[in-house]
């Protein structure tokens, strides 16, 4: 593991929204091939950490390198999967057109998409097993299907790393497991970082867990103990223990 190249290097990063410190002294290295779960309570700064890695926001202090570059410059090698609930489901757009947006940066400025873009989009749809829905209206799909479409959009740019924000929020248990199985399969090719408020399920799939609550504690999965989690959530965590028993 030690010989793997670092995909993300975060050093001593502080971040504040309007003078309120959200993240404090975060240091984290993500290596090639990792499947990292970032967990923490609501409002702990998990999504903020994800947006810092994408270069959508900038740290107050410290440095972030993605694939050895500034995050903005490495974006084309990162596939970002936002929460499907944040996307307007009334928008008149087909599944295929959603995935093609992932090719926008590489397609010509004027006119439509090229044949190669369409072929790559079809390939990505097949990879996440949603190809038969390609001409459906995006808004009519279920939560799990929408999540797969957004994953196809991220994969169509051939990324080296996938960043997922709460991929299983508002999705029921069985479908949730399918999504994790899919991610595990994808992990053979790409580094995966996913944010979740729900530690129970992800601990069986990820190989590292980072607990964020303003500051960060990172552990290989086997070392995640009740003490570590309690330190992160700052209090006893009946909910989480309960879910671990699943």
């Amino acid at each position: 593991m030690t010989t793997n190249k670092a995909v993300v290097e975060i050093r001593n990063v502080d971040f504040a929204y309007n003078d309120v410190l959200v993240l404090k002294d975060i240091t984290l290295t993500i290596e090639e091939g990792n499947f990292l779960g970032i967990v923490g309570p609501n409002g702990s700064g998990k999504t903020t950490l994800l947006k810092l890695m994408l270069g959508l926001i900038h740290p107050l202090r410290g440095s972030i390198r993605v694939l050895g570059q500034a995050p903005e410059l490495a974006r084309h090698s990162i596939g970002y999967v936002p929460q499907h609930a944040e996307i307007d489901s009334g928008f008149p757009i087909s599944v295929m057109d959603v995935v093609l947006i992932g090719r926008l940066g590489k397609a010509p400025l004027f006119g439509g998409y090229r044949k190669i873009d369409r072929e790559m989009a079809e390939e990505a749809l097949k990879e996440v097993e949603i190809y038969e829905f390609r001409s459906h209206h995006f808004g009519t799909l279920s939560g799990g299907q929408k999540q797969r479409v957004l994953m196809a959009r991220a994969l169509v740019g051939k990324p080296e790393m996938l960043l997922l924000d709460e991929p299983t929020a508002s999705i029921d248990g069985r479908v949730e497991q399918d999504i994790y199985e899919l991610l595990k399969r994808l992990n053979a090719k790409v580094t995966i970082v996913l944010v979740s408020h729900d530690l129970g399920f992800i601990s069986t799939y990820v190989n590292r867990v980072a607990c964020v609550n303003r500051s960060l504690v990172c552990n290989p999965t086997e070392h995640v103990t009740a003490d570590v989690i309690e330190a992160c959530y700052s209090g006893p965590v009946h909910m989480i223990k309960h879910k671990c028993e699943l």
Partner: protein
């Protein structure tokens, strides 16, 4: 009806009115679709009302008010677009302020212009029967401009409207694309002002597109359907207003509004019927 056809055949003013109505419907369907799906009705309202400032100033200094409207619409679109992307939290307050100040400035200019202020009503509520040959050409050129830009940048506009953050991650200039889109909306507003006036412009921009949305599966088909609906509303409004001696702008909007309500009710009934079927 026969009387309308007779007038249409014999009178220039009615031919101009019908042509401008049909031409404006095209831009209205295309840009109205973006306004509805991107949910920027309030932003478009801000642009259209601010335009009265430009019309008033042009009127006062003796220029063609439509040219004044054109210049101010573009300035307002850039300003409001910048505000909405950069200061998102205060967006509605700032747009509300521009909206009111623009209108107030326009009214002051019109009040200070010597002579009888008969034009104020036609700026606010439109008078399609007053448009001349010049306006027909002007509107046709703007139509051509809007359609060619939308054809060229269709996929980019779609991406920015659907998911702005993801588009930014693709390395696309979201700010410039969004501002261009707002400028095209501003141009459409100027065209529509001649048909229904400043106050009713938002209704004509949004109602055909909102009605089309119920039936269209994609952005492109929504644009085509909205353009057809717009043409039907303006033409039927023109006929009814002429036959019944009513103000044309208000008649067009009432017809469009009624069609939207009927479509909404039908849509609700259909989806209820379907869920009943499943049970």
């Amino acid at each position: 009806m026969f009387e309308f056809i007779h007038v249409l055949q014999s009178q220039d003013f009615m031919q101009n009115a019908l042509t401008v109505g049909l031409l404006a419907s095209v831009a209205c369907g295309v840009m109205g679709t973006y306004v509805v799906v991107r949910r920027i009705v309030f932003i478009s309202g801000g642009i259209s009302h601010t335009v009265l400032g430009g019309m008033g100033a042009a009127y006062y200094y003796g220029f063609n008010p439509i040219h004044g409207a054109f210049v101010v619409a573009i300035i307002a679109a850039l300003l409001i677009g910048f505000v909405s992307l950069r200061y998102h939290q205060h967006e509605d307050t700032l747009i509300g302020a521009l909206w009111a100040v623009g209108m107030a400035v326009g009214i002051l200019f019109i009040y200070k212009t010597p002579g009888y202020n008969v034009d104020l009503m036609s700026y606010l509520f439109g008078n399609i029967l007053m448009v001349g040959r010049e306006s027909v050409k002007f509107v046709a050129c703007l139509d051509l401009l809007i359609i060619s830009i939308v054809l060229l940048l269709y996929k980019r506009f779609l991406a920015v409207c659907f998911d702005e953050e993801y588009t930014r991650l693709q390395g696309i200039g979201v700010m410039s694309t969004y501002l261009l889109l707002l400028c095209l909306i501003a141009i459409t507003v100027v065209m529509l002002i001649q048909v229904v006036g400043i106050i009713l412009v938002i209704a004509l921009l949004t109602l055909p597109a909102a009605t089309a949305r119920y039936f269209a599966p994609s952005l492109g088909s929504m644009m085509i359907l909205a353009s057809i609906l717009g043409a039907v509303f303006t033409t039927s409004g023109l006929i009814v207003s002429y036959e019944q001696n009513l103000p044309s702008g208000a008649t067009i909007i009432v017809i469009a509004g009624m069609a939207y309500i009927v479509a909404t009710v039908l849509r609700g009934l259909v989806s209820r019927f379907r869920s009943y079927d499943k049970k």
